[in-house]
Amino acid sequence: MNFVLRQGLVVGPASTRVADVVVRDGLITEVAERVDLPAGAHEIDAQGCWVGPGFVDLHSHLREPGREAAETVASGALAAAVGGYCAMVAMPNTEPALDNVALVSYVLDKGARTALDVAVAGAITRGREGRHLAPLAEMAALGVRLFTDDGTGVQDPSLMRRALEYARPLGVRLAQHCEDESLAQGGSMNEGAVSSRLGLVGRPALAEELMVGRDIELVRLTGGSVHFLHLSTARSLAMVVAARAEGLDVTCEVAPHHLTLDESACAGFDAQFKVHPPLRTPTDVAALRQALREGLVDAVATDHAPHAPELKDRAFDEAPAGMLGLEHAAALTFEALGTAHCDPVRFFQVLSRGPARVAMLRAGDARIRHSAHGADVVAGEDANLTVFDPSARWTASREDLHSRARNTPYDGRAMNGRVRTTIAKGRLVVHEGTLV
């Protein structure tokens, strides 16, 4: 099927302009001020909307295999498409963990049956147990570019050093969930005034910052590269920014919830607000937003973490950590970037170009059957496009989700800006905000 996206604001890496975008046979074939409707093409009105490279999520927990009641690759892909995503990276903390070629292939195959490109992050250590390296080279040969034990970080510094040394010549990137378990263990929210009042055991900011600092030093030592997952404190971010300025190969992401919620949300003991790393202080939220606006953050990544309802109905300290993200991330990023003051270039930078670069999805890869992401909207590129309506006003609702799970902390929240159209791999997947 062929399309013309009419008169949207086409968002380039440097500037924007109003134009028509023609998509034919999976490729962008023309971008011009005004084109005639090609025979048989569908016209999609994009007036008043932003048209940019399709979003890429660096951090989705798709729960397959092992916890299919909460999410599957297929259901996660639907949620992602509605959220404007054309590609995502499936996290390896499944049951069992994605720590070998067979399991990675299993998820890649599931992904290939969705409308999107699903890349897989492999585990750094066998079983994510933090004791022995997983077969990184074998998984890399399959097209895996990111490795992480996400859910926890690699606690042992000598093992992390070895992983960095081993990964470097493979050309892959290690991604770290930074929380020192000896400091964070048993905690269920940010440690501070609120946790002390609520009688909840805290996960201190230091638990995250200590591991960020450690890994920066390990990158300096080994010449490796680390992507810092879901940074949540002002200090963590400042350390990564400084390390990057020194020329170290470090990148980072922030999650939508860390940009829009703070620790006070836990005061009602609703486990929907429980997440690791935890929601931090308003000062941290402000610092993260500031850094995002200044272009110091490589990506907004969802940390989409579906959980079955009965698990989130447990007491706060007994409930699992994590919240849904794919369907609300765009609106929340828009809010964090200043809503009416949101720079569309920055918006697509952190939702598409930045994460595509971190995940090394800029070029297509036949081995894992995926197209190119985060590219400029110009003729010749693979047609992965997201149309975002910055003037949309809507209310988030648990009932409207496409994920199998319902664990959003945003039920009832007024949202600004919404994904109207998603064209993934040349196919119209979401139109007028709904699945085609």
Partner: protein, 328 residues
Amino acid sequence: MIDTLRGRNLLTLDDFSASAILEVLDTAELFVEVNQRTIKKVPALKGRVVASLFFEESTRTRLSFETAAKRLSADVLSLAVASSSVKKGESLRDTIATIDALGIDAVVMRHSSSGAAHQVGGYVPHVRVINAGDGLHQHPTQGLLDVFTVREVLAERAHARGSETGKELFAGLHVLIVGDIRHSRVARSDIAAYSALGADVRLAAPGTLRPASLDGWPVSVVDDFEEALEWADVVGVLRLQSERGSGSFVPSLSEFTETFGLTTERASRLRPETIIMHPGPMNRGVEIDSAVADSAAAVVERQVSNGVPIRMAALYLSVTGSPEEATS
């Protein structure tokens, strides 16, 4: 800020105003008289059903609440949840839904997780929830019975009824809370209650047994425990929560006793009129010496007896009615 418990859940004392606390104390004072009668029963909650749900074992608090409910003529559904369906993996929401389906007016619950009573309040908004202790968070009726006991003792010395004195006996009262503040829901409720009534609350604890942050708490931490003993009008000794791992927060129990225990030697620094309190159960020889616990200055048993009228008042106000009609 909450100004009355009437018709509301009792989950925390954090947001209770002085008048809300005094209303409970004054109501409890009426119930003290009921507890002295031969027939210790009033029909205040006749026909009402109170479920007692203890997800965490506690013989004392459970007995106290169930006695209170029975003296109000309520029917009591007592569920030993700690040993029932929860062990089979039933969620908190399902357990409450099952009990609610039996038809209840109030639930008294204890849980090892902070906030569990809040969550239940959300699941069954038509049922009144009384928090009988949740994790490290709050134990509101303990806080209320502690201030009730202090007021009773001070009022007796002034030859007055507690209710006649309102909150005036608390103005500037020196309250020293000692020990395992970090893991104590009693401390959190006590601090809220004493401060709301105008007392000057100070804490004495080893560095590791203080909360991670005291920002926003209406308290100060004393530099010198020994000196503070001379300052105190009331000393609230807390139980060292070894079952919550507090043992690993201090080098040894004996060092804790050596530095923060209310030993006989330390107690000799107290002024004769200083009131010594402990929420029980006591670790005799750890946070308090036996001789001190059994001394005239200690009001531990009085705290226990006051638990019943306070819990009667809490249940009564929360579930229905007004104090005037309560004792008739």
